[in-house]
Amino acid sequence: MKADSEGVRTGIHYLDGDRAAAEGAIAAGCRFFAGYPITPSTESAEHISERFPQVGGIFIQMEDEIGSITAVIGAAWGGARSMTVTSGPGISLMMENIGLAAMLETPCVIANVQRGGPSTGLPTMVGQADVMQARWGSHGDYEIIAYAPESPQEAFDLTVKAFNMSERYRTPVIVLLDECVGHMVEKVTIPEADEIEIEPRRLTKAPIGEYLPYAYGEDLVPDMALAGMGYRFHVTGLTHDERGYPDMSEACQEWLVPRLLEKIRANADDIIQFVEEDTEGADVVVLSYGISARVSRLAIQMAREKGLKVGFLRLQAVWPFPEKRIAELAKQIRSFVVVEINLGQIFYEVQRCAAGQCETLLSPHAGGGVHRPENILKVIEKGAKAK
């Protein structure tokens, strides 16, 4: 279906990434926001607090991040497309209930505007060190979807996509912004409502009395009911059967949990999004995402000026990880150079998927700023000599 024109601020704007993500959410039909202020994400919440009362949305500032994420989940079951926005310390606090969202198969979106960590770290400065946490931060096995925009425009676009994927796969989706993208102000073009494709919620059409909350078909995603529709269904964060009833058995666990992973893994190609440039014949492929991707491009230009053959792989989705493509490329190149504002996170994934077929090098940065292109260049040069 198409976006509701009422919420779509069609036109050209000069917006920061935080606000662009907020506009993306509104365009995608988000009408419930619960959040707790935290730098550098707060602009999103502020923007929404202003916009929502005029588009029929509910904005509530909760007492903390735990309350925020839980209210977001509750609202999803009440029928809202819902969202919260936070940063490092807040996302860590949300981890338990992100697990709940995954377990209940609740469509919802969490934006994490990454700052320098660990702990309180550098609240007003950039980091990209919550990437592995996004995948592994809650206890137990689950899979996550996460997008990492490189500009305010993409913050808008990928937030829309995040909502759509969360509906399609009934799963929490994380938008991994970083402080740079979140606070960077650029031109953002918001299209007409009818140019924005919106994924409808997978509402069940079963007759009352015949609905099974966790029965699923080929695509592994069950249809959803909402409170108040008359189904009188039950859901629980405990291991549960088709009926949504707790079933404390190994057999039920084996039935349930692998599917939670598989519904993402099997559909990875639909979810994954990346930009690949000039990898054909490249010696080195630079892999990056978010703000680091932009800085990388500059380093790549510099390297090309020096005559190096450098390709570029920019992850728009960091999770699921494009394992297959990495493995293929690994066979064709001398090395990957991973550029990220952390001391090695996606780097490990690349290294794993490259499986020794090529070198994997890291151009690290502890946070608080972006890479100096010269430093990336050095690693590219090293990578060009690999093997």
Partner: protein
């Protein structure tokens, strides 16, 4: 041509808004690309803060200043911190009541103004210091067309204050001509 602009001052001077206006003017009303960013810490409150605007016809990859073309300084601290990043022959625009140049680099194009004093005295509202400065900047740097700046101001300041802000802008803009005239 790429332009790297830094505006600096202390918290409460409206530095960030100034950056937004410049960026918006360039990108929306002058059809270039413009990326505006800001550096701020908790110290922003009453302490040094700054904004960067990169303007370019091409895609802007690296969104931060590597060597600035223009520095607009509204505080001593900001001046001290960022004057070094001005490229040889770069443009330094500063409030002479607030900034003491000391031994400035020789080859800069210097544009002093008393923006805060003008805002306080001529316009009666210290709060428009930043816009006075923007007017002066527009005239002095020629980085962004005046019309684009005016449009950007109109869509960026609170509704009720547009008139005052445009007045402040013009006052700053004119100051340039006056000062040039005096020379």
């Amino acid at each position: 041509m790429k332009q790297e602009i830094r505006i600096t001052g202390f918290g409460g001077q409206g530095i960030i808004l100034a950056g937004v206006i410049v960026g918006k003017a360039a990108s929306i009303y002058a059809e270039k690309n413009a990326t505006m960013t800001q550096s701020y810490g908790p110290e922003a409150r009453g302490s040094s803060c700054s904004t960067q605007v990169i303007i370019d016809e091409q895609d802007i990859l690296y969104p931060y200043i590597r060597e600035s073309d223009v520095l607009v300084a509204l505080s001593q601290e900001g001046y001290a911190k960022f004057v070094g990043e001005l490229k040889p022959g770069g443009t330094l625009i500063y409030d002479e009541d607030l900034v003491n140049l000391g031994e400035a680099k020789k080859d800069l194009k210097l544009f002093p103004i008393q923006a805060q004093r003008i805002a306080e005295t001529d316009l009666g509202r210290r709060i428009v210091t930043n816009i006075v400065m923007l007017g002066y900047f527009t005239a002095a740097s020629e980085a962004v067309p005046k019309e684009a700046m005016i449009e950007a101001i109109k869509t960026s300041v609170p509704k009720g204050t547009i008139e005052l802000n445009l007045q402040a802008f013009e006052r700053g803009y004119d100051e340039h001509a006056q000062r040039q005239g005096k020379k």
